[in-house]
């Protein structure tokens, strides 16, 4: 069943059109790797879906409801969560307060404070520390935990491993595997192609604001994606209309 459908989505930064007519659909429980070079429009796309960036054209349909005109807090109340690039934690509040804040979405579900602490044991000892004093890995865990506390049906993860030590990245991904098993749909933006493709059942590659390639990961080779990534194969059988 389709959970989220994006139809001909346009998003702009002033005169620059960052996302051009992007269409795709996410099934319930699906995991999608969203890849593409810097400036391809991945972050803007995720922010527009979450309502943090204004939609300038097209539709965003979530569980049959057109949410394109709704505010970000209304969308999080419906079950869309974004872990923003750079984490954007409330640095003057404690880890626990950051997590509790997400209860404002008003969605009951399996993700409670205790559940997050169990899923991210590295946060337990830092419960009462200010978010601004955390290490990168702890911050990322808090940001993911905060998004989970809204009990979302789809979670959009922007640059999860950016700025993290390799060992910490391992741990975050182990936690994401657990999340995937819980049935939440995941859209994962990641620079590390290999890692993203290992995790996701489907890969979407963006190029200059449009989708260059979209297909089951099993049918794509890394080379296919790399070519799409650099714009070397836009008009062949895999390419969306470019």
């Amino acid at each position: 069943m389709t959970l989220l459908a994006v139809e001909r989505l346009d998003a702009r930064h002033g005169l620059l059109q960052a996302v051009r007519g992007v269409s795709f659909a996410i099934e319930m429980g699906e995991t999608i790797a969203l890849v593409g070079a810097n400036g391809a429009g991945k972050t803007t796309l995720l922010r527009t879906i979450a309502g943090a960036h204004r939609l300038s054209g097209g539709r965003i349909v979530f569980k049959g409801v057109d949410v394109g005109a709704r505010s970000s807090h209304a969308r999080s109340a419906l079950g869309i969560a974004l872990v923003p690039e750079g984490r954007r934690l409330f640095s003057r509040m404690t880890v626990e307060e950051n997590l509790l804040l997400a209860r404002s979405a008003g969605r009951a579900g399996p993700w409670t404070l205790d559940a997050v602490m169990t899923a991210f044991p590295n946060l337990k000892a830092r419960r009462r520390s200010l978010a601004g004093t955390l290490s990168g890995g702890e911050q990322q865990a808090t940001a993911i935990g905060r998004a989970l506390m809204t009990n979302p049906e789809v979670i959009l993860l922007d640059e999860v491993s950016l700025g993290l030590a390799p060992l910490v990245v391992e741990r975050v991904y182990a936690q994401l595997e657990g999340l995937k098993a819980s049935g939440v749909a995941i859209v994962l933006v990641e620079q590390d192609l290999k890692r993203a493709m290992a995790m996701a059942g489907r890969t979407i590659c963006m190029l200059e604001g449009a989708i260059a390639i979209d297909g089951p990961t099993s049918s794509l080779t890394r080379e296919d994606v790399t070519k799409a990534y650099f714009g070397l194969r836009r008009n062949d059988e895999h390419g969306a209309s470019a």
Binding site: A52, S71, H73, L82, S91, M93, L101, A102, S104, R107
Partner: protein, 299 residues
Amino acid sequence: MILVNQAIQGILLGGYYALIACGLSFMFSVMRIINLAHGSLAILSAFALYVLADRFDVSPFLGLIVVVPAMALIGWALQRTVLERSARGGLLVPVLSTFGLSIIIDNLLFQQFGADTRSLAPYIGDLSFDSWAITDEIAIGKLAALTLATAIVLLGGIQIFLKRTQLGRMIRATAEDADTVGLVGVNARRVNAIAAAIAMATVAISGAFLAMRATFDPYAGALQLIFAFEASVIGGAGSLWGTLLGGVVLGVAQSLGASVSPQGFFIGGHLAFLVALFARLFFGDFGPRLRRAFLGRAA
């Protein structure tokens, strides 16, 4: 002994300054709005209480039951109609719009009530002059003590509210990053309107104490704004316990200044404000750059 008395009276006076600074400091810390209509709004609530007392025989304390919610409502409406829009234009636009607002409020009050000075003191019976004699030379006014106690309870209550409740967390998070709170389900517009309502509720309370302890007229708001501003800055704008401390420092400085010379009351307060301001500039975030500019490379 005179000095001790001056210090004690200064601390008590500081309670009033902390009370009037509370709303200003809260609004700045949460919404980054410097509300220049703050003093005029306090006078507006003083007049509201005066009308209730004068025409309907309602004691000012009972009158607060009506005036506090009414001012909260005004705060909500102000945020939605004026402040929210002007805050979008940057930090300076709200300064202009609230300045305009203060002129409108002052003159509407003048048109309605004229230039007569009024006070709520006649409506609170003995409380306006009763005191406890501690020694032969030191007496503590009951109203002043009540003012200080109210300031402590109010500031402490808001502090606990911000720390412990979900709404408090929402207000703090919105203050820190209004764009991101939406992503975790917080309606930033609503939160800011609630915060403005809370700020105006405190303004109503400070207006009541202002009118009970002294006299007021339609143009008395500007001076109250200055006191509130000085107390906020001395205490570090945005920190509520700091605001209490700032009020007390201001009160003590004024009171000690007055004991030096009759003109010293205001000068003492302004001096404390300037010292705190420059100390903040020189030892705060801009300190290193300023010290270099003023003292040359040698420093």
